[in-house]
Amino acid sequence: MKMVRQPLASAVLLALLIAGCGGSGKGPAEAGVFRFRIPGDPVSLDPIHSVDLVSQTVVNNLFDPLVRLDAVSGEVAPCLARSWEPLDSAGLAYRFHLRTDMLFHNGRAVSAQDVRYSFERLLAPRSASERPWVLTPLLGAERFRAGAADRVEGIVPEDDSTLVLRLERPWAPFLAQLTMAGASIVPREEVERLGEEHFGQTPVGSGPFRFVGWQHDSWVRLERNERYARGVPGIRSLEFPVAPSVAVALEKFAAGELDLLEQIPPGQVELARRRFDGQLHIWPGLSVRYIGFNLSRAPFRGNRTLRLAFNYAVNKRAITEVLSEGVDQISTGPLPPGLPGWDPQAAGYPFSLERARELLAEAGYPGGCGLPELTLLYNNDPQDRRVCEFVQACLAELGVNVRLKSLEWAAFLAAIRAGESDLFRGSWIGDFPDAHNFLFTLFHSSNWGDAGNYTRYADSGVDSLLTLALRVTDPAQRAGLYREAERRIVADVPWIFTYHPGQVALVGPRWSGLTYPLVGIWAAELWRLQPVAPAAEGGAAQ
């Protein structure tokens, strides 16, 4: 009897003992804690290495940049800098006046010297930041990066609270670029005390929340900064539980374990709307999805009529209303609706099978005759698959034969960079609300092929408009230039214009007063949140 049962029993006991060590659980709705689901572990909480949306979501609450984006209007708004003024008409220099009441979480006041340190740290090659381009327009930035100068000439602290930034050449989106996470201000003594490696694990900033803890792949927790001079947040603590699976995250939301759940994919939206009556919010985003033509080879090279036929053949309304359940908007061009330069009058290429057939014949392929089988490459995302299958079906109506090819993300990127297919599923999410960020990245010939212009589009007229728009400081004039550039691009038909993804989130019933961000980064400091049931809260509300 004792021979086998005992070892088995003791093994079971031991396993249970090891497995069972741990404290007691927390209730699902802790007072004053706002729970914000993130789909994966942040890469790093060091601003100069926070390259993904998840890291930026957390970093933006821990650190302050000089200027912030207003979450609603998308305008550049004060943050560490209370005001700024241009020093010349060409937009080559700006003077910033810093607030004197902003403190790092270690209690030290933020000064203009910290801005210099943080900016040089982002640019320094030994930091190996992924985002130095945010600050490369600064005067002398390139020389500093090349090791030819030990300071960046264009960063001039005049005193503790005044700073002048000079640029190499006029760069209209510069202020918007300063709002990016990479340009956040960090305290030198903490970076040096912790070391580069650990600073990203236990960050110290000056933001509305301070870092409490991070269990990798599990959760990140922040507490509000009680001394935050720009207004103490209404939330006592901000917790980011990691939940990779959306289906499971929805169950967590239903169980009251989450207050905010974004990125609900098509196919789940209508279900969520029915299940969580009144808690689903949809608002426009700052991105574009398209089907790109490979313009560097036949059959699309030099055959605008053929590209036009493909555009008229795709029923965009079916995509936005059926496939994406009313969340997305039809795209008439690369710029998302509402962005300065976007043309509300543009009609795009509305669905017309008849027109498509005529154009196809005109292009030299009547009824699809003579056109080889084309490959359409996409990355293995369920919604992209549905959209690409739909495009394939639309083109089949014309008699055009399209073969779908799916790859995982990294291999997909490598393939479209190499220009390996006739058609590909493309996407771009804006870094900041400026048309430059869309049109220059995706269509300027200097980005040809490898750096974002995957269709290999090149037009000297469009190039000069985009370059000129960088030098113009008057917003209305700039918008006009971008509108013209976009008009020309759309007329050249480098894409099948499909849709602009909207944003979807479920917001739990415990709080009210959220503002919905234009660029998918939530800044909880902007929420003047009110707990809906004050009795349940531990005095967290303002």
Binding site: M1, M3, V4, R5, P7, L8, A11, V12, L14, A15, L16, A19, C21, G22, G23, S24, G25, P28, G40, D41, V43, S44, H49, V51, P125, E130, R131, W133, T136, E196, E197, G200, Q201, Q215, H216, D217, S218, W219, P241, V242, A243, P244, S245, A247, V248, E251, K252, A255, E257, E408, W409, A410, A411, L413, A414, A415, W428, T441, A451, G452
Partner: protein, 317 residues
């Protein structure tokens, strides 16, 4: 015994080396540039070359391989490209969660699987046997993803007894559902193996002799049969433990469990080669370690099995 252990440990070296080299070459062949993936579409050539230099990606393959091997010899698995931290730290953070989940799942599988297998063997050919066989088939063939979701809907959603997922504060409440769904396949296997092994033993001569001596059925089962059935069972336990430790990616994803499997999976997607390498090496060690443990258990269960005799291993009831 010592000789046996030494021999086994030495034989571990080529296994780990071969695996590590295979992963190294595979990750090199798969398209996808880690520097590009990190820097994003905006990055200029200078940023990319700085990153590549920083990660050592600008060196020729044989140099990188040599550096990797010399690091391995020193027990240094290098730095994660993505997280810029030592791989050993990244894995050490996640290993306890993986170990807890695997051991809890193994415990559940042992209790339920062996119990059900015994029940089926004793009631061979009757309703209980049929039900156990059906359930075990279900356990083996149910996708973990689906089962996990169903458990969440029932126990966390409808009944509200347990948290939906996550590691929480590390308490047992968070462990129950992921361990249950991970244990399903092993439970099914254990039930079938236990039943088959017990049936064979129960038909054997020495059990017949015991029956002839008038011993009770319970006494026969506990004292005379289980030990004979243990050898095949232990084999399955070992291989199961190894796969529970390494193959829990789906469970870890569904339940947002911060384990090694998910870390490797995520690292593959972003081509974080050092983490993939380190993770695979860790799993190889665990696999070989579990097998070693089983061999030691064999000898303890059945003294006729000699570890360092080098003769064929066989055990018949």
């Amino acid at each position: 015994m010592i000789r046996f252990l030494l021999r086994r440990l030495v034989s571990l070296v080529p296994v780990v080396l071969g695996l590590a080299s295979l992963v190294f070459v595979l990750m090199y062949l798969v398209p996808g540039d880690p520097a590009r993936l990190m820097a994003g579409q905006h990055a200029d050539e200078q940023t990319l070359s700085v990153l590549r230099h920083n990660l050592g990606l600008d060196r020729p393959l044989h140099v990188r391989y040599g550096m990797f091997l010399s690091g391995l010899a020193r027990g240094d698995l290098g730095y994660s490209y993505r997280q810029r931290r030592p791989v050993t730290t990244v894995l050490a953070e996640r290993f306890p969660a993986t170990l807890r989940l695997a051991l809890a799942a193994l415990a559940i599988a042992l209790v339920c699987g062996v119990g059900a297998g015994m029940l089926a063997a004793v009631h061979h050919g009757r309703a209980a046997d049929f039900v156990v066989m059906l359930l075990s088939l279900g356990g083996i063939s149910t996708p973990v993803f689906w089962l996990g979701m169903m458990l969440i809907v029932l126990f966390a959603g409808v009944l509200g007894w347990l948290p939906v997922g996550g590691y929480g504060d590390g308490s047992l409440r968070y462990l129950i559902l992921p361990a249950l769904s991970l244990s399903a396949i092993s439970t099914g296997y254990f039930a079938r193996i236990t039943r088959a092994a017990l049936l064979e033993v129960l038909r054997s001569d020495h059990v017949l002799a015991a029956r002839a001596r008038g011993l009770s059925e319970a006494r026969i089962l506990w004292s005379h049969s289980l030990r004979g059935a243990a050898v095949p069972l232990v084999t399955v336990i070992g291989t199961n433990l190894a796969s529970l430790l390494g193959g829990a990616v789906a469970t870890e994803t569904v339940f947002a469990w911060p384990g090694v499997g998910r870390a490797i999976y995520d690292a593959i997607l972003v081509r974080d080669l050092p983490v993939v390498e380190g993770g695979v090496i860790l799993l190889a060690f665990l696999f070989v370690g579990s097998n070693l443990l089983i061999d030691l258990l064999y000898a303890w269960i059945d003294p006729r099995i000699r570890l360092d005799g080098g003769g064929p291993r066989e055990a018949t009831g």
